[in-house]
Amino acid sequence: MLGSCRGRTMNEVALKQYQSCWFIRSFEKAIAVQARAGNVPGLVHLSTGSEVADILLGQQLDPTRDHVTGSHRSHGLALACGADPVAVAKEILGREGGLSDGLAGTQHLLAPETGFLTSNGIVGAQVPLAAGGALSANTAAVGGIGVAVFGDGAANQGAVLETMNLAATLNLPMLFVMYNNGMAQTTAAVDATSGSYCARAESFGLTAWSADSDAYTDCLKTLRDAVTYTRLGSPAFVEVTVSRDHGHYFGDEERSEFPPSKAMACFAKWLSEQGVKDQLLNTARCAAEKDAAAAVAAAASAPFAAANALSPWLGVQGGTDG
C-alpha cells in the first residue's frame, strides 16, 4: 500500500505520498469507528495529524538496514515503514493474525521485518532502543541508521536526554525525530519544556533541524537531509511540527477543540500548484480511503485472539502458572 517510489517523476512520487497520507488518515478514522463501537480492547492514541511527517520520514528509510522505534502514538509510523496494514489493524483490535497475535496491542506494534522495531507504552523508552539499532547498523557497517520518533512531552524524559548525549559521544548514526504537536496528554508543550528543543539537541552535540509538516517541500528536504547526514555516520535531531487532531486518546472529548491538521490540505494545495489535477488528488484519496477501510474491515471481521494466544508463553520461565 505504502509502496516504493523509485523511477517515477517527482509529481508521481508526491501524489503517491499524498495517497499514503490519506491511507493513514483513513486507517485511523476506521480504527476510531471500531473504537466507538467497542471493538478495541483499550484506549487508542491516533496518529491523525502526523500523517505527512510519518510518510515523508518513512520514505527516507531503508527497511533492510534502518531500525525505527516509535511512541505510544505510532500507528501511522508503523504503516509508513511498511508494516502490513491488516496485521497492524488486527493487532490494534486484538485479533488473531495481528502482528503479535493480539498479545501486544496498539502501543506495542512490532514489525522488525520492515525496520519498524517497536512502539512503546513508556514515554521516551523507545529512544535508547533506537540507539541499539544504530549501534547494530554501525557494527555491521551496512550504512544503516537508528531512528527514534518521540513527542514533545517525551523530550523531557531522562531516557531521551541521556540518549542524545550517548549518541553524540559514541558518534552513532542515529536520528532523533521529535513530533511537536504542542501537547502531552493535557499539558501544553510550552508549560512543560523550558528552552528550545533544537538548542537542547545542539547542546548535546547533535546537528539539529526543524521543519513544519504543513510545508511539504521543506519538510521533505529537511527529513531527507537529516537522514542523509545521519547515514554518513553522525547523530542528528529534527523537530517536526505536526498536529494532534483528536484528543490524547480517541474519545478524550475534552480536547476535541484542537484544530484539524492543515498538513494534508497544504500538501494538496502544493500538488495543485505543481499542476497535479484535482481529479488525480481525488482518485488518490478515494483509493486510499477504500484500501484503508478494507484493511480495517478485514481486521474487524477476524476473530478476537483466543485465550490460548497466551499458551506459547505459559511455563516458559518455570514460574507457577495460575
Binding site: 496498539t106 506495542h108 513508556i122 521516551g124
Partner: protein, 327 residues
C-alpha cells in the same frame, strides 16, 4: 454516624480535599493533576480550591518529580505524588528504591519522610503490558516502604489519610478497575490504621487472602463455595507491608487451609510472602499445602480473552479452594 455511598474515586477525592484543607503542608505533584484533575480524575477540583502552588503539574519527568517529592518531604512538606501507572515506576525506580525508601534509615531516624506516592495497578481493561501491572510486592520487597492496596471506598479514604499523616514513604496503589466501585462511607471519612487486615467474610474451612480487586473476586467465589458446602473466610490485607500476619495466622489456625489469590507476580511475590509467613508461624495448623492463585508468569496480554485468561477469576478460586478442601 451519617452514611453515604461513594465510589472509590470520589472517596479518594474527598479524602484529599479534607486532608489538604486541614494541613497546609500537603501538596500534590504529578502529570496533568491540576486543572485536568488527573487522568483518573482523583484530584479533580483540588487545583481550584488550593491553587497552583499546592497542585503542581509537571513535565513527563518522573525521576525529577518523584525525587522532588522525596526532597520536599525531607524539608517540611507532605507531598502526595501521582505516578499515573505503577508500570511507570521503572523510569523513577531509583528515587523510590534508594532515595525514598532509605532516607530515614540513612539518617538513623533524624529525617521524617512523609511522602505518599499514589499510583494505579490492575489488569482487565485492555491497557496492555505497560499499563496494567500490579507491582505491590515489588515495592513491598524494598525495606523502608509501606505499601497499601485498598479495595473499597471507606478503606481507600481512611488509609489515604493515614498514609498522608504517616512519617515514612507510602506507596498507595489504586486499582484502576475499582475506581467506580461504590460503597458506604461514614461522614468525615475516618482514618484507618496502616498495617491492619480486615476479615471481609468469616468462614471455617479455608482462609482466602486477597487484596485489592482480587478480594472482590474472592467474595464472589465464596458464594459459590458456600452453596457447595465450603465455608471460606476471606481476608483483605489492605496493607501489603507491613503485613498483618497475625490476622492471617489466626484465621489459618481456625480453618487449617490457606489460599492466596493475587494479581501480582507468582514468583517471589505477595502470595509467596504470605505462604512463607504462615508456614513459619502456623505450620502445625495447616491441613494441606498452602496454595496460591496468581496470573501466569507473563506480561499482561492485550486481547480481551487472553487478558481474561491471565487474571485469576472467581471460577479459578472456586476450583482451587474446592481442590484444597477435598484433598
Amino acid at each position: 454516624m451519617a452514611e453515604q455511598v461513594l465510589t472509590i474515586r470520589q472517596a479518594l477525592n474527598s479524602a484529599l480535599h479534607q486532608a489538604m484543607a486541614d494541613d497546609d503542608t500537603i501538596i500534590c505533584i504529578g502529570e496533568d493533576i491540576a486543572e485536568n484533575g488527573g487522568v483518573f480524575k482523583v484530584t479533580e477540583g483540588l487545583s481550584g480550591k488550593f491553587g497552583a502552588e499546592r497542585m503542581i503539574d509537571t513535565p513527563i519527568s518522573e525521576t525529577a518529580f518523584v525525587g522532588m517529592g522525596v526532597g520536599a518531604a525531607m524539608t517540611g512538606l507532605k507531598p502526595v505524588v501521582e505516578l499515573m501507572f505503577c508500570d511507570f515506576a521503572g523510569v523513577c525506580f531509583d528515587q523510590i528504591m534508594n532515595q525514598a525508601a532509605k532516607a530515614q534509615f540513612l539518617s538513623n531516624g533524624r529525617l521524617k519522610l512523609p511522602l505518599v506516592i499514589r499510583t494505579t495497578m490492575g489488569a482487565g481493561d485492555g491497557s496492555g503490558a505497560m499499563h496494567s501491572a500490579s507491582l505491590h510486592s515489588l515495592f513491598a520487597s524494598i525495606a523502608g516502604l509501606t505499601v497499601v492496596c485498598p479495595s473499597n471506598p471507606a478503606d481507600a479514604a481512611g488509609l489515604l489519610k493515614a498514609a498522608i499523616r504517616y512519617d515514612g514513604p507510602v506507596i498507595f496503589m489504586e486499582n484502576k478497575q475499582l475506581y467506580d466501585f461504590e460503597g458506604p462511607v461514614v461522614a468525615g471519612l475516618p482514618e484507618i490504621s496502616l498495617g491492619k487486615a480486615r476479615t471481609i467474610r468469616e468462614g471455617t474451612d479455608i482462609t482466602i487472602v486477597a487484596a485489592s480487586a482480587m478480594g472482590h473476586r474472592a467474595l464472589a467465589a465464596v458464594e459459590t463455595l458456600g452453596t457447595n458446602g465450603i465455608s471460606a473466610e476471606v481476608i483483605d490485607p489492605r496493607t501489603i507491608k507491613p503485613l498483618d500476619v497475625g490476622a492471617i495466622v489466626d484465621s489459618v489456625e481456625k480453618t487449617g487451609r490457606l489460599l492466596v489469590v493475587d494479581e501480582g507476580t507468582a514468583f517471589a511475590g505477595f502470595a509467596d510472602a504470605v505462604i512463607a509467613a504462615v508456614s513459619a508461624q502456623a505450620f502445625g495448623s495447616l491441613r494441606c499445602a498452602p496454595m496460591k492463585l496468581c496470573p501466569p508468569d507473563t506480561p499482561v496480554p492485550y486481547a480481551p480473552a487472553a487478558e481474561l485468561r491471565w487474571l485469576p477469576d472467581s471460577a479459578d478460586i472456586v476450583e482451587a479452594a474446592t481442590n484444597m478442601t477435598e484433598a
